[in-house]
């Protein structure tokens, strides 16, 4: 997004003032409206499509495969593809590594089938278009895709070490996957104020950005800072990190609930 000097200064001043005014009149903790559809890809175990009000869109597919977990202990694998970006571009690689780290908070015990075999989940993310930093959108997409995931029902014995058999599944019965998927929030720092879910124009004037992850009622690692733009980035008061964490702590529960009740 390109803004003129005058627009930028007006935006910055209104965001930095106390009380702050966001260009679309949102509260500090308020998200823009989003639209989510789930379970529209019959060949995947779970899927979701999420569209933000600015036209940013992201499609997530969850596919499962049976693996021997003594050979392959990594049971969750995220791959992110951002349209218009190369696979080895900075933003794609940093998002992929972020989500591979964030999803380690998921308890992989739920994926274990037998003493030898587990489901491995392949989470493929396609970002069709993004106007602001997409990680929050991606995390909502992954959250709702995981919540809509159903896996084949095991009918053979759990203890397969003695009988050396491959797991057998029911012909059509599926069991919903119940995991506590983490959420990731992007916050923008403008002077001494901090905001959740910055829009493109807010990102353009932000002094810094903060990525806060949350899972199961508490803020978890990783917490990172990111530069949301190339021109305005500065250092910020470390107390703002605490403020950001508090903000996420306060509202994440409600957001998770809204996403679960889909």
């Amino acid at each position: 997004m390109t803004l003129s000097v005058a627009e930028k200064s007006y935006l910055y001043d209104s965001l930095a003032s106390t009380p702050s005014v966001r260009p679309d009149g949102r509260h500090q903790h308020q998200f823009r409206p989003i639209e989510i559809y789930t379970d529209f890809l019959p060949s995947s175990n779970g899927s979701s499509r999420i569209i933000a009000s600015d036209g940013s869109e992201c499609i997530v597919s969850v596919k499962a495969k049976v693996v021997d977990h003594s050979l392959d202990s990594d049971l969750l694998q995220v791959e992110i593809d951002i349209a218009g970006e190369r696979d080895d571009s900075l933003i794609t690689e940093s998002c992929t590594s972020l989500f591979n780290k964030v999803l380690r908070s998921i308890d992989t015990k739920k994926l274990q089938l037998t003493k030898k075999y587990s489901f491995k989940l392949f989470i493929d993310v396609l970002v069709l278009s993004s106007n602001s930093y997409p990680v929050s959108l991606i995390s909502f997409g992954i959250y709702s895709a995981l919540n809509s995931t159903a896996l084949p029902k095991l009918v053979s014995n759990f203890d397969d070490l003695e009988v050396e058999e491959l797991p057998m599944f029911h012909d059509y019965d599926l069991v919903p996957l119940e995991v506590n998927a983490p959420l990731v929030f992007v916050l923008a720092v403008v002077k001494n104020n901090i905001f959740i879910d910055p829009a493109a124009n807010e990102s353009e004037v932000a002094n810094n950005g903060l990525i806060v992850s949350w899972s199961d009622g508490k803020v978890i690692a990783p917490i990172r800072t990111i530069a949301l733009n190339e021109t305005n980035t500065k250092g910020f008061n470390p107390q703002l990190i605490q403020q950001g964490i508090k903000l996420v702590d306060q509202y994440a529960e409600e957001i998770a609930k809204a996403l679960t009740n889909l």
Binding site: P42, S43, D54, E57, S129
Partner: protein, 248 residues
């Protein structure tokens, strides 16, 4: 009838169609109005395809600038989750030879159909995302591009509709799915409007020359039907748009 019988003696295919029947064909345009100038979403059987047309715009690179006509670039992104089994390739799927060949075929087809001379010094960027595939993918890509270009308002001579036809022994089968595609040799056609002109003909396997005429005949008839289906969908959409515009 056995589940794996491609074409039964009673004349039914695996999914219950007869030899000359198309798959379910559903389409909508202007689906991503924020992200692109023209967009379409196409479901042809179990193929699900999103097409985004960006442009005509000023090219980012000087090398893409042509003084006499618009540069057409088409990128096909076949997602890893598009097939029933997730594709195992660890590397970049975008540079696979099969995909690159499809892109070239599509560019050559649409270069002749879009009036690129009307948009000199610009680039028209077509981005295709294949969310799910089930045979006859090239034909579906053609249909998706046609619809998205119409939505973008790019001048073109006529619709191009694509369809794949298989030849099972002596019977041509219209609009093959992935199981049929794997079992027999197939031809993909791109037909210009209601004419019998072909703008694309792709034959990847051997086909007896004396049978080809039959195959082409049913292919052209099927493509005409697809053109009509696209036309109906577009007109229904346009009617809604005009109605909304006149309300304001």
């Amino acid at each position: 009838m056995s589940q794996f019988e491609v074409y039964s003696p009673e004349g039914l295919r695996m999914d219950g169609r007869r030899w000359n029947e198309l798959r379910r064909f559903e389409t909508s345009i202007n689906t991503h109005s924020h992200a692109a100038d023209g967009s379409s979403y196409l479901e042809q059987g179990n193929n699900k395809i999103i097409t985004l047309v960006k442009g005509p715009t000023e090219p980012a690179l000087r090398s893409q600038l042509d003084q006499t006509k618009a540069t057409l670039s088409i990128s096909v992104n076949v997602t890893k989750f598009s097939k029933f089994e997730r594709s195992k390739s660890t590397g970049n799927t975008k540079n696979e030879r099969r995909i690159l060949e499809m892109q070239t075929a599509l560019v050559r087809t649409f270069e002749k159909n879009l009036m690129l001379n009307l948009y000199p010094r610009t680039i028209i960027d077509i981005e295709i995302h294949v969310l799910q595939q089930d045979g006859g993918i090239l034909g579906s890509l053609i249909n998706g591009i046609t619809l998205a270009c119409i939505d973008a308002g790019i001048a073109m001579y006529d619709y191009i509709s694509g369809v794949s036809i298989g030849l099972y022994d002596t019977t041509p089968l219209l609009d093959v799915n992935s199981l049929e595609e794997a079992a027999m040799s197939c031809v993909t056609l791109g037909v210009v409007g209601k004419s019998e002109k072909l703008s694309l003909l792709q034959v990847e396997d051997k086909i007896p020359l004396d049978r080809l005429e039959n195959v082409l005949a049913i292919g052209i008839a099927g493509a005409h039907r697809i053109r009509d289906l696209m036309d109906t969908a577009l007109r229904a959409h346009a009617e809604k748009r005009v109605l909304n515009a006149s309300k304001r």
